[in-house]
């Protein structure tokens, strides 16, 4: 259990630093690469939470596909790569009190409702079979709806981005 806590601490620190760099760095490509660090850390946390299938899906979809989309989007919307001024709004400092207030309220609510409650330590890894039984059983209708969402998103992206 101690090893898991140490692993959690290291990965959490890396994720928080990476997330702060994503929202503060002045270079879109560097921000995308810091975001890769955060997403990989999230996959590691999923493994700590005994969710190996979700962790592998996270690596495949986010680090594999979404990040390539982001880099393509960056490439196609800017003339040259490099530092860019005016990446922030003129009133960017208003975000600091807003997010700190939100964080304070959430931490107060979490500590008062969960306190020192521990996660069960004897749980096994959730098998992919159990997840697929759940998806293709009680959650079949949302799965179909999600297929349509993905289809519509693909068609919509093509229609929006093609040149006429």
């Amino acid at each position: 259990m101690v090893a898991q806590n140490i692993a959690f601490g290291i990965i959490a620190a890396i994720m928080v630093v990476g997330a702060l760099r994503v929202v503060t760095v002045n270079n879109v490509v560097h921000a995308a690469l810091w975001l890769v660090l955060v997403l990989a850390g999230a996959a590691a946390q999923y493994i700590l939470l005994t969710a190996e299938f979700v962790a592998v899906t996270q690596v495949l979809v986010y680090i594999g596909a979404v990040m390539v989309l982001f880099l393509f989007g960056t490439m196609l919307t800017r003339a040259q790569l490099g530092k860019e001024k005016l990446l922030n709004n003129p009133t960017w400092y208003l975000g600091i009190p807003a997010s700190l207030l939100l964080l304070g309220v959430m931490i107060m609510a979490l500590t008062s409702s969960f306190g020192d409650e521990k996660l069960p330590t004897d749980s096994e890894l959730v098998s992919t079979q159990a997840i697929s039984d759940q998806i293709f059983g009680p959650y079949l209708l949302p799965f179909w709806a999600l297929s349509f969402v993905l289809l519509v998103a693909v068609i919509g992206a093509i229609v929006l981005a093609r040149k006429d």
């Binding site: 929202v23 999923y46 939470l49 979404v66 975000g95 939100l102 409650e117 997840i131």
Partner: protein, 99 residues
């Protein structure tokens, strides 16, 4: 491991994402901040799935990953379209619909 350590990590990531959405001017950077927010939600779902010994949280996390992929695809297509028409993706310049 405590439940709260995962929930507070997710809360911190969520607030950093909210700060990014408020502070950033570049549309691609706002989409990246939204990815941070969606990931913190996924950590919450999986922490509660482990706490309650249920699989439903895993299914919802997978659905969120799929919806996030669709959202990024459509979002970046919109950003490309705005860039093609205006040669800029600064969000505060898109003010034609202001009353």
């Amino acid at each position: 491991m405590l439940v709260n350590q995962f929930l507070i990590l997710a809360a911190v990531l969520f607030c950093i994402g909210v700060y990014g959405v408020i502070a950033r001017r570049n549309a691609v950077m706002v989409l990246m901040s939204i990815e941070l927010i969606l990931n913190s939600v996924n950590i919450n779902f999986l922490a509660f799935a482990l706490r309650n010994g249920s699989i439903d949280g895993h299914v919802f996390a997978l659905y969120i990953i799929a919806v996030a992929a669709a959202e990024v695809g459509v979002g970046l297509a919109l950003v490309l379209l705005v860039y093609r028409n205006r040669k800029s993706i600064a969000l505060d310049e898109l003010s034609e619909m202001k009353g």
